[in-house]
């Protein structure tokens, strides 16, 4: 068994002891003939990786700790079978970007980095081609959904293998909605506005973050933009089309919603503020993954009983989501690229991934379509809504292809800040002009 310890910076590490296997060369040949990890397991022997080979993984600190435990157990199993060490390092998601940048520039560091959102496009030059892993995996598992593919596919090659997409929904207090006459969560943005207005009048505002934070502000603002028919660029990925009626309508709607129904401290919120406020009973509704639900299940039974989830309301253009995605990238500088590929292939294969997916308990939406009918989705009626979110998801930089420029616009919070400017007093037209101008600087460069 491996041991878990903490490094000096508080990072969690798990080291798996090295195993030496006899007849390594023969097993390697057998594995190659049978194809990857299944072949290795079939042979019951390890391939020939040099003694002392260590695979270093950099991952985010999971919001569902049980998922980490399963992953680590699988890493140990892999290490045992392959006769190598697997080291799993975990850091906060917001720090992954910095670590990946430093590693690529120094050409040294983790072999595999779990990269969030559309950042693989920023790091494309430093990532190895993993088409040989991603492509067959997609075919075996019913094909990829659009969003995970968009975030991990660039220039005709896979630059990362999608691991999962965060599920997302509106968390709401059923009894509080009933008090204002809503038996069901509204299905349109107009209904949402009416609901929010009535809730705020009772001192139970809807909570939404608009600060400079990786997930929540982007998830909401991009989705709202798309629901009202707005988009950043044309399909060519170059022509900025933000300055259109749909965007203007979205800004007007949000500014009115802010005054009438949203908690007016949201401009400074980060990804965790709404979780805390909802669990403290300050909010009636907030958009989030089911992490609020899981914490309530463990620690706030009264809120847990009253909490339910709802999908994104429909706008004039439809219902859309922007969801955080995590993809496993093999670093180009890595000397263990073959082993890294084997590892990704191993844990994304059905037997391993299913165990992890099961304990993640609807928090993680698999990137492929094979999992749509899995029993996990219907285990709790309140979480069924998360199964469909990925089908309606789009990617930053829509309607163009995903790109480095789209990543840059997202990292600079252009769309979020466009909505914020209107909240802060700029006219919707001024805010739109600013946003379009900033996008033109990025896409025109």
């Amino acid at each position: 068994m491996g041991e878990e310890r903490r490094g000096t910076s508080g990072k969690r590490w798990t080291s798996v002891p090295r195993r030496t296997f006899l007849k390594a060369a023969a097993a390697s040949a057998g594995a190659a003939a049978l194809g990857g990890m299944p072949g290795i397991l079939h042979a019951g022997q390890a391939p020939a990786y040099p003694k002392g080979t260590r695979l270093h993984l950099l991952q985010w600190l999971n919001f569902v700790p049980a998922g980490d435990k399963v992953f680590l157990a699988q890493a140990e199993e892999f290490a045992k079978q392959m006769g190598v060490e697997v080291q799993v390092e975990r850091i906060g998601m917001n720090d992954v970007r910095t670590r990946a940048t430093a590693a690529i520039e120094a050409k040294s560091g983790p072999d595999i980095i779990l990269i969030p959102n559309n950042l693989p496009h920023l790091f494309a030059d430093g990532l190895a081609d993993v088409s040989d892993v991603a492509e067959p995996l997609g075919k075996e598992q019913g094909g990829y959904y659009n969003l995970p593919r968009a975030n991990a596919f660039s220039g005709g090659r896979w630059i990362a293998v999608p691991q999962f997409v965060y599920s997302w929904g509106w968390n709401y207090r059923e009894s509080w909605l009933r008090e204002i006459g809503y038996e069901k969560f509204p299905d349109t943005w107009e209904g949402f506005r009416d609901m929010a207005k009535k809730l705020k009048a009772m001192g139970r505002a809807v909570g939404q973050a608009f600060g400079h934070s990786e997930n929540d502000p982007n998830n909401y603002c991009y989705a709202l933009l798309w629901c009202f028919g707005g988009a950043e660029v044309e399909k060519d990925g170059k022509t900025v089309v933000l300055d259109k009626k749909g965007t203007l309508e979205a800004i007007k709607y949000n500014t009115a919603l802010w005054k009438e129904g949203l908690d007016e401290s949201g401009l400074s919120w980060d990804d965790a503020t709404n979780n805390r406020a909802f669990l403290a009973g300050s909010l009636s509704v907030t958009g989030n993954s089911p992490s609020i639900y899981f914490v309530a299940r463990d620690k706030f039974p009264d809120i847990f009983k009253d909490l339910n989830h709802a999908p994104m309301p429909k706008g004039p253009a439809g219902r859309f989501y922007q969801l955080p995605t995590l993809s496993s990238a093999v670093m180009k500088y890595s000397k263990n690229q073959k082993l890294a590929r084997e590892f990704i292939r191993w844990y994304m294969a059905k037997p391993q991934f299913e165990k992890w997916f099961d304990v993640m308990d609807t928090f993680a939406v698999p990137p492929t379509k094979m999992w749509y009918d899995h029993p996990v989705w219907v285990r709790d009626r309140k979480n069924v809504v998360f199964r469909d979110v990925i089908k309606d998801s789009l990617w930053p930089g829509y309607a163009g292809p995903p790109s480095r420029k789209a990543s840059e616009a997202m990292a600079k919070y252009i769309i979020v800040d466009m909505f914020v400017k209107a909240i802060q007093g700029a006219t919707p037209e001024e805010a739109l002009k600013w946003g379009a101008g900033e996008l033109k600087k990025i896409y025109g460069a």
Binding site: D125, S268, S407, V420, W434
Partner: protein, 328 residues
């Protein structure tokens, strides 16, 4: 053609000078030269570690940064030489101009407030009779606690839902609605300045206190005999005599505050809507968050001219002081 024997002597001095050297002993002169050489060698050996450290950790990153600012480098790609294009692009960037203005506002307000509060605290401590050691030690706490930790604590204190500051103000009857400390552009900037002042005041106070303790009490006594009131004693005696210390502390603080990063990054991330971005945080956003290393380096180096002027002034002021003391 061989040079004349006279001009080939090592010193090539005129004859009268050679004569004088002979009088004091040329051999002795040669021995002194060897000693000098040994001293130079020793000095070089002793200086080498410092030079290597400076070269590796100061000169190389600096030169590399300048070079990077002239490339269109992105993460994983070295990039091509683009001259000053990155700087031109920054100049036309509204957010950068906002960050530049923010940096001057942040530095101006924070440094002035730190000086005012630091001076008040130093004067109080200087006149205290008891509890001096405990008060001085506790006053230094904000300065010695790691900035990341203390700023995280402030973030909690500014939390819209759980702010202890709001809770206290509400229960004391000062506010009826919660204050959104980091929500609006003015409040957010005010809040980050507040945290910077809280953290930096002890540095001013302890340094000014050291300066105050070097002032001869006789000067105050003489001023009192001449009828000077407390304000006049401060303004005519303390302030001028403390000016050298004050200037140096101010310059150090300006440099540190101008290049501040951690505090804003943790509290606001530059938001809302870029209203609290400083040079350093925006350079980080460009260089790391968006992967444009060349532009990020350029944004970072944009601080350099101002900081360079401050350092020049600081060095000039210190040398002037040294010169003044030397001639006195």
């Amino acid at each position: 053609m061989p040079a004349p024997a006279e001009s080939a002597t090592p010193t090539a001095l005129p004859k009268p000078a050679m004569t004088r050297l002979a009088a004091i002993g040329l051999g002795r002169f040669r021995r002194a030269s060897r000693t000098e050489r040994r001293e130079w060698l020793l000095a070089l050996i002793l200086l080498t570690p410092a030079l290597v450290m400076l070269g590796l950790f100061v000169a190389y990153p600096f030169v590399r940064g300048i070079w990077l600012g002239l490339l269109d480098s992105v993460v994983g790609r070295e990039g091509d030489f683009v001259g000053l294009r990155n700087y031109v692009k920054l100049w036309n960037d509204d957010i950068f101009r906002r960050a530049a203005a923010n940096t001057f506002i942040y530095t101006g307000f924070a440094t002035s407030l730190k000086l005012t509060l630091g001076m008040i605290v130093a004067l109080m401590l200087n006149n205290l009779i008891g509890w001096k050691r405990i008060l001085r030690a506790s006053m230094l706490l904000p300065w010695i606690v790691p900035t990341v930790l203390s700023t995280l604590a402030w973030k909690w204190m500014f939390d819209p839902t759980f702010s202890i500051v709001n809770w206290i103000l509400y229960h004391l009857g000062f506010i009826r609605l919660r204050i959104d400390w980091l929500g609006g552009p003015v409040m957010a900037m005010g809040s980050v300045i507040l945290v910077n002042v809280w953290r930096g005041t002890p540095f001013f106070a302890i340094t000014l206190l050291a300066g105050l303790q070097t002032i001869n009490p006789d000067v105050y006594e003489a001023a009192s005999i001449d009828g000077a009131n407390p304000w006049q004693r401060f303004w005519r005696v303390t302030w001028p005599l403390l000016m050298p210390v004050t200037t140096v502390v101010m310059l150090f603080s300006v440099i540190q505050t101008f290049a501040d990063f951690q505090l804003v990054y943790i509290l606001t991330g530059g938001g809302p809507a870029n209203s609290t971005h400083l040079f350093a945080t925006y350079a980080y956003q460009i260089g790391v968050a968006t992967g444009k290393l060349g532009e990020g380096a350029a944004a970072s180096l944009a601080m350099f001219p101002f900081l360079f002027l401050v350092v020049i002034f600081q060095l000039w002021y210190i040398r002037r002081g040294e010169g003044g003391r030397g001639s006195a």
